[in-house]
């Protein structure tokens, strides 16, 4: 199946690395990294120091690899890559004496947009990230969440095909993080922009990406899809009242249930089993104090890959 963007255009590999090596003194930050990233949104996951930011900087031409080759959107020419890529660094990178509006216009002009288009695009993109009311304020007066949005806006202002985001939710409060993740999902799902984001938070990637690449000690240790998983168990139940009696009730209705340390373990718990648990709890007057998914396939895989 060939991938296409939100506008039906064929999607090329956002990033293709072949045997990338990058060392800093004695530290081998990237160790023969070979990977191809073509999903609409891909997450780079890894612990601090795993090589995520280094891989992004090599892809953007900010660092020169010691060995290997990297292609971005199928291109190796830096001028062409610059025109088609947006970048949101993790660190603070905004000129504090400019407004978000001026910054977006300035960067759009530097990326080759005519003045009239730069003005229009700046308004559009600031509206898209929710900064339209604050766009004339100096960045120096922005909160951290607003600065993150301004960073995202400048990355989008020239209409890139690929946007590279380094820890986009870093430092945000829960509400700001949720809003940022929604914007990021909107980019790849509705606007057809390929997204490559790094994070050390699996949940961020689960909520925004279609694929995850796990880096550990400068190597790619796993690459797999983030699919909309239907839970099939196992599930652990904690009930008020007699747990053994409720486990027996479940068994009577054909649901395999084991009593383990005062809790009920359902080795298989698809939608049918879960509905039966709900109905039987209601009919027997048993309270369900917790029902926990005891397995997360992606998390297990990632933890295994990062170990």
């Amino acid at each position: 199946m060939s991938l296409s963007d939100g506008y039906g255009r064929p999607m090329t590999a956002a990033l293709a690395c072949d045997g990338l090596v990058k060392t800093f003194g004695a530290v081998r930050a990237l160790d023969r990294v070979t990977v191809s990233v073509a999903a609409p949104a891909t997450g780079l996951l890894g612990a601090n120091g795993a090589g995520k930011s280094t891989l992004m900087k090599v892809a953007l031409g900010l660092l020169t690899p010691d060995e290997g080759e990297v292609r971005v959107l199928g291109l190796t020419d830096r001028t062409q890559i610059r025109a088609r890529v947006g970048y949101m660094p993790e660190h603070s990178c905004l000129p504090t004496d400019m407004s978000a509006q001026d910054l977006c216009i300035h960067l759009a002009r530097l990326r080759g947009l005519p003045r009239r288009d730069a003005l229009r695009r700046a308004s559009e993109v600031l509206f898209a990230v929710g900064l339209e009311e604050e766009r004339h304020r100096l960045i120096d007066t922005y909160s951290l969440g607003m600065r993150q949005r301004a960073k995202l806006a400048q990355a989008l202002v020239h209409g890139p095909d690929l946007v590279v985001l380094d820890e986009p939710t870093s430092g945000l409060d829960p509400a700001g993080r949720t809003e940022m993740l929604e914007i990021l999902r909107h980019l790849s799902r509705d606007l057809g922009i390929q997204v490559l984001l790094s994070s050390h938070v699996l949940e961020d990637i689960e909520r925004t990406c279609d694929e995850v690449v796990v880096l550990a000690s400068g190597r790619v240790s796993a690459q797999q899809a983030v699919s909309a998983r239907v839970s099939t168990g196992p599930v652990t139940l904690q009930v008020t009242g007699d747990a053994a009696a409720f486990a027996g009730l479940l068994q009577e209705h054909g649901i395999t249930a084991q009593l383990v340390a005062g809790r009920i373990l359902l080795p298989s718990a698809g939608p049918r089993e879960l509905a039966a648990v709900r109905d039987l709890a209601a009919s027997s007057g048993t309270g369900l104090s917790s029902m926990v998914d005891a397995a997360n396939a992606l998390e297990d895989a990632v933890v295994g890959a990062m170990a």
Partner: protein, 291 residues
């Protein structure tokens, strides 16, 4: 007849429009940098100092041009204040302007770590440097070339026979422009070099002022002790002044002094410093991860 109505969708959309040539981006960088250095689109307070110095740089030329208008029988403006003398009068203002505006062209973006944005998705380090050099030249021209042009144009307009004056003095236009640019380029090179060495504006200003204020004292002292006028060529605040003195019409700088360094030596210093400044800038910015 009904008026046409248009609906505009202001939601984010993909951009498939034209892209301008790269030199337009370099100009955009130069324009933006010049505006920020002058405090444009910033608070009123940030405009005060640069515009005060620009006004101060034009006062001598304006006053010189105004004298013949106020007093009958007063000498012509260019007799009162030849171009080289004007440059000499302007030197303290030019030094103050260069020290306070030029280093921040580079230090501010290093401090704010904006370079990673520029070099990853906007422009190459060479395009960035070209924009900054143009901005520095434009800024310095405001306090070197512009006053010279005010004096030239003013002396023509206020003469008793402007058309004759245009014919006589008009032939000096190229020399005046060249002299103004030589001065602007000199201070631009020194200011940008100071700015490239550090991300702290105060350190850059201090370094530049140290070079421009200490070298006159040292070179003058050594020149007096050794009786060697050539040592004065090491006075970095006066190099452009001495270099352009033969370019400009009228009485030249140092003409009445006891001795002056040879023009060839002065131009050699000018060229060597510009080469050194270019080397520093290239070495400092050749690594795209300069942020």
């Amino acid at each position: 007849m009904t008026a046409e109505a248009h609906l505009y969708d202001i939601r984010y959309s993909r951009y498939d429009g034209a892209r301008e040539a790269r030199w337009r981006s370099v100009l955009a960088m130069a324009r933006s940098s010049t505006g920020r250095a002058l405090g444009l689109r910033r608070t009123a307070g940030s405009k005060v100092w640069p515009f005060l110095l620009i006004a101060a740089a034009h006062l001598p030329a304006i006053a010189t041009v105004g004298v013949p208008l106020l007093f009958d029988g007063a000498p012509e403006p260019l007799e009162l204040m030849p171009y080289s003398q004007l440059l000499a009068v302007l030197t303290p203002i030019v030094v103050a302007f260069a020290a306070t505006t030029l280093p921040s062209l580079l230090t501010r973006e290093r401090r704010d770590r904006v370079l990673s944005l520029y070099f990853s998705t906007a422009m190459s380090p060479w395009e960035y440097l070209a924009g900054k050099v143009l901005a520095a030249l434009a800024l310095m021209s405001l306090v070197t070339l512009s006053p010279l042009l005010v004096l030239l144009i003013g002396s023509i307009l206020t003469s008793e026979a402007p058309l004759d004056a245009l014919r006589d003095d008009g032939r000096h236009v190229l020399a005046v422009i060249l002299a103004g640019l030589v001065c602007a380029l000199w201070f631009a090179a020194l200011g940008l070099t100071a700015g490239a060495m550090t991300s702290k504006r105060l350190f850059a200003i201090g370094g530049l002022l140290a070079v421009l204020l200490v070298t006159p004292v040292l070179s003058g002292l050594v020149s007096s002790l050794t009786d060697q006028p050539s040592v004065r060529a090491a006075d970095l605040s006066q190099v452009p002044l001495r270099a352009t003195t033969d370019l400009l019409p009228g009485r030249g700088y140092d003409d009445e002094g006891s001795g002056k360094p040879a023009q060839a030596l002065v131009w050699s210093v000018w060229g060597a410093v510009l080469l050194a400044a270019t080397t520093v800038l290239v070495l400092r910015y050749r690594d795209p991860d300069a942020s």
